[in-house]
């Protein structure tokens, strides 16, 4: 069982181009910032939005082929969808919501209800089977929506931001629950998320989608090792500079990012052109006075935000190009850093790792 997607989907003014594959038992995360076109792509895979170009195939069956006018409507696709805002039927009880997919496919009401209750029991919400959606807590509603999507044993499960409506406490529990369900799920799962933790804990492969384009495909480890865009770099917590590399002097080059230049090492056997430079936040040094030292990059800018996590603090600075520095919480206090303070950020050219684009 394999999902093969290669489409152009248009909705309003947004256009999404994406090509990726997923095998049975695998979970693919569509990861990207808000407005990247993730939900549009999922709507298209669900059959709710026919692609303008390209094909969608599941297990050898063509679900969509724009050039040949093939479009299997959603009700004839072997899919289950958990929508971002769940879309539970407000006029039906939790059990009736779950049973809906079976009843719609001609299973007798009594059998459907029995199976729905069993499914709710497995997900730990049996006690709420007779409640209406508006009486359910966020976590309960999420479980009901998951049970509803899975009840007819689909070959393809689509989860659109399944944790976004939950508070932090419920999120961890539901994430674990989804992980358990995905482990038992024999089909293909496509998970839409903008949360890298959700993506890397639940998915085998990540498809990074930005402004309607796939910018990177790979395992969480691969993307962590070599993010290809500033968004991906930001997700895995490193600085990324994308731009044109020109020779500067012996062994060094100037990377022109469009937002400012940085000095980086010149890679062996390189003729110039577009590259990505990665810089770990721990390699960025902050000071209030103009630094004196061997660092070839010295940039000045205002602190825009500080996130403290235990002993470590991530400081974002509006330099050109913008930087993230990771320093100790003690240093934040010692330097008196807060949003708006002007600081110098410095890093050695050799700390920047150069990758092909």
């Amino acid at each position: 069982m394999t999902l093969v997607v290669d489409v152009v989907v248009r909705r309003g003014t947004t256009e999404v181009r994406a090509a990726f594959e997923a095998d049975a038992g695998q979970t693919v995360a569509l990861l990207g910032p808000n407005g990247a076109g993730k939900s549009t792509l999922v709507a298209s895979i669900a059959g709710l939005l026919p692609p303008s170009e390209g094909t969608i195939e599941l297990d050898g069956t063509v679900l969509d082929d724009a050039s040949n006018g093939v479009h299997i409507p959603p009700e004839h696709r072997p899919i289950g969808v958990v929508f971002q805002d769940l879309l539970l039927f407000p006029h039906l009880s939790a059990a009736e919501n779950v049973a809906f997919g079976l009843c719609a496919r001609g299973v007798a009401r009594s059998e459907a209800t029995t199976r729905a209750r069993r499914s709710l029991e497995r997900l730990g919400v049996a006690a709420r089977a007779d409640a209406r959606p508006r009486q359910l807590s966020g976590g309960e509603a999420q479980r009901v929506a998951l049970a509803r999507a899975l009840i007819a044993e689909p070959a393809l499960l689509l989860l659109d931001e399944p944790l976004s409506s939950l508070d932090v406490g419920a999120r961890a529990r539901v994430r674990e629950l989804i992980g358990d369900e995905l482990a038992r799920f024999p089909g293909v799962c496509v998970l839409v998320t903008h949360d890298p933790i959700e993506a890397s804990t639940l998915a085998d492969h990540l498809v990074v989608l930005e402004e309607g384009r796939v910018t990177q495909i790979g395992s969480p480890e691969q993307i962590r090792a070599a993010p290809r865009s500033r968004y991906a770099a930001d997700l895995v917590g490193v600085n990324a500079f994308r731009g044109i590399l020109e020779p500067l002097d012996d062994g060094a080059g100037r990377l022109a990012t469009g937002e400012g230049d940085v000095v980086v090492p010149w890679p062996d056997d390189f003729d110039g052109g577009e590259v990505i430079g990665l810089l770990r936040p721990v390699d960025v040094t902050l000071s209030l006075e103009s630094p004196v030292g061997s660092a070839r990059n010295m940039l000045r800018g205002q602190v825009t935000s500080i996130e403290v996590d235990g002993e470590r603090a991530r400081v974002r600075i509006a330099t050109a190009p913008p930087l993230v520095a990771e320093i100790t919480a003690g240093s934040v206090e010692r330097l008196g850093l807060r949003a708006g303070v002007l600081v110098w950020a410095s890093f050695k050219a050799v700390e920047v790792q150069i990758l092909p684009p």
């Binding site: 669900a46 709710l48 009700e75 879309l87 039927f89 006029h91 719609a104």
Partner: protein
């Protein structure tokens, strides 16, 4: 000024309450004329409301969901019977279904020997014509307020369009459907001008309650007052019912 407005509206009601011969009310309302007219009115209004709903739902659907040229024009056209004089509606119906002058009525009579004018069917047509816009407007508003994505969700669960309509759309529209039925029923019940023009005033066939009131006013004003009170009571009940359940 506000008080003056209220007084202006309240005065006719006060007049009716005072002039109604309360001691004879039961006798008048159980009289042959009143009972026959009441029975006919209920039948006509109920059929008119049902037809308005059945014809109105597909139209409301198209207006709410469809996008086509001239949609504004179609909506204006649908609302027209609501604002035009009912007597003109009656004349129009004659021009369409009249035995001698109707563009369709002539053929119906010549080919099938069917005459619509001066029958209960004519009374139903007249009542439907004026109540139809209310049904369409109420249903269209309901469809617009409905989250279409719930129907999308249903289709991803294997529901065909017909199943979605039956299990999701119609149940969710319940209050609006009830409102459409009640509003068009009440409007149909009170129709006078179109009915008397197109269907005439024949006891037991086309004489609905408002027509009976009109006739009795000339022969037995007391009876007209009593039947008017009945119609007001029905209207009042409708308003109470709508306010409690549909018009929050």
């Amino acid at each position: 000024m506000a008080a003056l407005g209220v007084a202006f509206i309240a005065l006719p009601f006060a007049g009716l309450v005072i002039r109604t011969p309360w001691s004879r009310v039961v006798q008048i309302l159980t009289s042959d004329t009143a009972l026959t007219a009441l029975r006919l009115s209920l039948v006509v209004a109920t059929i008119a409301a049902a037809v308005s709903f059945l014809l109105g739902f597909p139209l409301a659907w198209t207006l709410a969901r469809g996008s086509f040229r001239g949609k504004t024009l179609v909506r204006a056209f649908v609302v027209l019977p609501l604002v035009m004089p009912p007597v003109v509606a009656g004349v129009g119906l004659l021009a369409a279904f009249g035995r001698r002058s109707g563009i369709v009525g002539v053929w119906l009579y010549e080919w099938f020997g069917i005459q619509i004018t001066f029958t209960t069917t004519a009374a139903v047509l007249a009542a439907t014509f004026v109540s139809f816009p209310l049904a369409v407007l109420a249903l269209e508003a309901g469809l617009r307020g409905l989250d279409e994505r719930l129907e999308d969700a249903a289709s991803t669960l294997g529901a065909t369009r017909w199943y979605v309509l039956r299990r999701v759309t119609l149940p969710l529209l319940g209050p609006q459907i009830a409102a459409a039925l009640v509003l068009s029923w009440a409007r149909a019940l009170g129709e006078f001008g179109a009915t008397i023009t197109f269907a005439g005033n024949l006891r037991g066939r086309t004489q609905t309650l408002p027509l009976a009131v009109f006739e009795q006013l000339q022969t037995d004003p007391d009876a007209a007052f009593a039947v008017s009170m009945l119609l007001i009571a029905i209207a009042f009940t409708v308003i109470l019912g709508l306010r409690g359940r549909f018009l929050r």
